[in-house]
């Protein structure tokens, strides 16, 4: 049971810290017995027309989402859903249906960036005529300032890439403490900005879509209080805001569609309500009464318990978008710890795993796909199918026992599994218990060790290299649709962070693999790069450093009066910036 469709990065996300209380945690998936819905545009009563879509009020029903709006502290993929309504970054995701939506396109900038010197220097030019909500011009200095303020400790929380990639980023303390600024970001004129990186990063344009690249006017910066009323560069601006409760957005009259090809900005007003229960959100969307006729959600999907309502109700089933956010739930081995330093033991656990039980535990085949690869099954990530340790649907206990005996454990083995103590994210007690039951049949006795009340508390334990447990249940999601952010933190030996915050849980460090990663990062042609990431994943899979379990799916409802609803593959659901209520 999950509450997903990350407004932001799923494993980190401040916005998604839903409490243990969301009863009907929910997920999303393809279901609709026989009804193969996916990326087709939905048809409402009268056809949608982009030219004539303006007007009305869109209601957004959320469980979380409204806890953080400082562009420095937000952790989004592609600029997020709600934040993208008032924060424009240098680039953004392409709002088109299907796999084409995985591409990055210019937003404030004229192109997705000009790389030079092996993709270590990236130059952007701003479009002419860009304005904030107060009518003042957006300049390249504002973007430099916005990036710099992400380095202030009081505004921490965003992704780690800026600190890792920018020259001098490892020591910079932010503009409040160090007003001279970061010299690796140059603004030769008001329309140009240049970033100097420590290493080749062909994926920089994807990073430039995050809210950290949304301009912040220095004169209006109120530091830790900026999130209460941030200055809009997008089509909407704040009209009323109570954190975790309500956000009312109205039009920003200085935003111009002529500079923004991505946001249709159809509704006149957007009313976002947060702190709602997952079941209640889905019931309201299904009923579609009153203002809920024009309602959507960005962080809640239909749960396993609600799937039955869709079968036999074609009208309701037509109001569902099925997709997936690129992420993998997997078992991580600490190869520095016995017995998982022994590859045969890792293989035995790979053979014995009961993926069918795991998939059922998180909502069945409509909400999850069994995974045998670490990279999710999306072409944008370079998916390359493989299954080196075939476990079948429910595990191969006999083969596992045989391998265990070979490894020196003829009488079975006892292991401890650490996991976060909530089922909200689909990697908690329900999955752990399912694994335990199946492993017992292969002579692998699993002791369950719930660790931390939510994903952050769990990460604090598991991410500490010195104290990392041998076996843990984890989720890994894509910061952007590419193999680079998916594989690098997990398998690059130089990404092992001592003392906390580590994600290379295998603590795997192979010079050849590290060099290969550097090589692929120099490629700025995405299609060519994806192929290589897929090959790398297939190569790493042979080492049984992880046991991939499943890829989650999303099944998102929308109100009967909402139009232009189509799957955005980058987000795994529909896009709030293009829907219409007219």
């Amino acid at each position: 049971m999950r509450t997903r469709i990350s407004t932001s990065h799923p494993r980190t996300s401040h916005p998604l810290r839903v409490t243990a209380l969301s009863i009907a945690a929910v997920s999303v998936g393809a279901v609709l017995a026989g009804c193969s819905s996916t990326s087709s545009r939905s048809s409402a009563s009268s056809a949608f027309s982009a030219a004539n879509c303006k007007g009305g009020t869109l209601t957004v029903l959320e469980q979380g989402s409204l806890s953080e709006f400082d562009p420095a502290r937000l952790y989004t993929s592609g600029g997020g859903q709600i934040p993208a309504l008032f924060f424009r970054a240098l680039t953004t995701r392409d709002r088109v249906p299907g796999a084409a939506g995985d591409t990055v396109v210019p937003d404030l900038a004229t192109d997705t960036g000009e790389p030079s010197q092996n993709a270590t220097v990236w130059t952007y030019h701003l479009k002419p005529g860009l304005k904030y909500q107060d009518g003042t011009a957006i300049t390249s200095a504002d973007i430099k300032y916005a990036v710099e303020r992400t380095f202030d400790a009081q505004l921490a929380g965003g992704p780690p890439y800026l600190r890792d990639w920018l020259v001098g980023g490892d020591t910079y303390q932010g503009p409040y403490k160090d007003p001279k600024g970061l010299s690796s970001i140059e603004t030769p004129d008001a329309d140009t900005i240049v970033f100097h990186l420590r290493k080749s990063e062909g994926g920089f344009p994807y990073l430039a879509a995050m809210t950290q690249f949304a301009p912040v006017p220095k004169a209006k910066d109120t530091g830790t209080q900026y999130a209460d009323n941030p200055v809009s560069s997008g089509p909407y601006q704040f009209a009323g805001y109570t954190p975790k409760k309500q956000l009312e957005l109205v039009r920003n009259k200085y935003w111009s569609a002529s500079t923004d090809s991505q946001r249709l900005a159809c509704p006149d007003k957007i009313d976002i309500q947060s702190g709602l229960d997952a079941t209640v959100i889905n019931q309201r969307l299904a009923a579609g009464v009153g203002a809920d006729k024009y309602a959507i959600t960005t962080d809640t999907s239909i749960g396993p318990t609600q799937l039955a309502q869709l079968t036999g109700n074609k009208a309701l089933a037509s109001r569902v978008i099925t997709g997936a956010f690129a992420e993998t739930v997997y078992l991580a081995f600490n190869t520095k710890k016995a017995p998982f330093d022994n590859q045969l033991v890792r293989e035995a656990l790979s053979y014995a795993v009961d993926r069918q039980a795991v998939v059922n535990a998180v909502g069945g085949s409509s909400l999850a796909t069994a995974a045998t690869t670490f990279l999710p099954n999306q072409s944008a990530l370079g998916y390359h199918p493989y299954d080196y340790f075939p476990a079948g649907a429910s595990g191969d206990a006999a083969k596992a026992k045989q391998i265990l005996a070979q490894a020196g454990y003829p009488n079975g083995i006892s292991v401890t599994l650490n996991y976060e103590n909530t089922d909200d994210d689909g990697d908690g007690p329900a999955v752990a218990t399912a694994l335990q039951a199946a492993y017992a049949q292969a002579g692998i006795h699993v002791k369950l060790a719930p660790t931390g009340t939510d994903s952050d508390a769990f990460r604090a334990v598991v991410g500490d290299t010195a104290n990392e447990p041998g076996l843990s249940l984890n989720t890994w999601g894509a910061d952007w649709p590419s193999g680079a952010p998916f594989l690098t933190p997990i398998f690059d030996g130089r990404e092992i962070v001592q003392g906390g915050g580590n994600f290379n849980l295998a603590q795997y460090n192979d010079a050849a693999v590290n060099a290969r990663i550097d090589q692929i990062n120099q490629i700025t042609d995405n299609t060519a790069a994806q192929q290589q990431w897929g090959d790398l994943d297939a190569q790493l899979g042979k080492l049984a450093l992880t046991v991939p379990l499943y890829f989650p799916k999303n099944l998102t409802l929308f109100g009967p009066g909402v139009k232009n609803v189509y799957l955005s593959e980058w987000r795994g659901t529909y896009d709030i910036a293009v829907v219409s209520v007219k």
Partner: protein, 320 residues
């Protein structure tokens, strides 16, 4: 939980035990005439049998509470059980759990062990703590009373969730979870009993026979044991009979918040907290555990009411 505390407290202070309680035999004689209490007793007895005999019953059924059955679930429909009424049949008397296929009867039978043990243990500990503190406050000096009075206030005012969540996170995972639950619930829930005991003690110590004992040179401990404790029995037993079902519901609440007993151990609270969302797709899974919990709590409440009436002649008189 404090609600029940206060009713009982209000009633206790309103009606100080007018007579020393009758013995257990007399209590039983009165109870036997009370049909509602007898019905409650039957339910409670059935529950205890179900819990104690869980291994036997499940052996007869041929199931255990931990085995997963993928083949009994419709994966495309969220893992709902195949077959009507949640998969009820000869092999699975009450059907199977959605998403896991574990046998529901076995889960409930073994869950009864946990629910009963935790709620009975917590109630006993609460009563023990509460009576102890209440007696000490009522019989001790002004200073002791002031100090313990504050402690009682604190126990009642403390937001139990903070304590529960924090404590359950602080204590190492190796500590047996049901024992921890008992301790946490006792630490959070002794205030009500303490308050009643203190009020009753204060009222009893002014009675003639207590004053006589005091004049006769009895020690405070002796007075407490011989004169006060018997007088406390009626309101405290009455209150405990209400605390027990409240503790059962609280255990369910902790499970609902994910801080109850650990999987794969079964508890009713755990079943209920997942069951509620299955109302549409698998009503059996909601109805069966709800009925079981409801009947058990109701059984205890009826029995408790009977005990109260039996121990309090005036109430018995009222109910005719």
């Amino acid at each position: 939980m404090s609600t029940t505390a206060l009713t009982a407290a209000a009633e206790a202070s309103q009606e100080p035990a007018s007579a020393a309680p009758t013995g257990p035999r007399a209590l039983w004689r009165t109870l036997r005439r009370d049909r509602a209490a007898m019905a409650g007793l039957v339910v409670v007895a059935a529950l205890v049998l179900l819990a104690l005999g869980a291994p036997l019953w499940t052996a007869i059924e041929g199931q255990n509470p931990y085995a997963y059955h993928d083949n009994l679930l419709n994966s495309a429909l969220g893992g709902a059980p195949l077959g009507s009424f949640g998969g009820i049949g000869g092999a699975h008397w009450l059907g199977v759990e959605p998403q896991t296929g574990r046998d529901l009867f076995a889960r409930i039978a073994y869950g009864a062990q946990v629910s009963l043990a935790v709620s009975i243990g917590a109630t006993l500990l609460q009563v023990l703590l509460g009576v102890g503190v209440g007696l000490a406050a009522g019989l001790g000096g002004r200073f002791a009373d002031a100090l313990l009075g504050r402690a009682i206030d604190l126990a009642i005012a403390f937001p139990y969730l903070i304590f529960g969540i924090a404590l359950l996170a602080v204590v190492p995972a190796s500590f047996p979870r049901p024992v921890l639950l008992v301790v946490v619930m006792a630490v959070l829930g002794w205030g009500g009993t303490a308050r009643i005991s203190r009020a009753q003690t204060l009222s009893l110590r002014t009675r003639d026979y207590v004053a006589a004992a005091r004049l006769g040179g009895s020690s405070t401990a002796r007075i407490a044991r011989r004169e006060i404790l018997p007088g406390l029995a009626a309101p405290v037993i009455t209150y405990a009979a209400l605390l027990l079902p409240a503790n059962m519901v609280l255990e369910a609440g902790f499970s609902f918040l994910g801080i109850g007993v650990r999987p794969p151990t079964s508890s009713w609270g755990q079943i209920l907290s997942t069951a509620t969302t299955w109302y549409y797709a698998d009503p059996t899974y909601v109805i069966v555990p709800c009925i079981v919990l409801f009947a058990s709590v109701f059984g205890f409440v009826l029995l408790g009411e009977g005990v109260r009436k039996a121990l309090d002649p005036r109430a018995a008189n009222g109910s005719g």
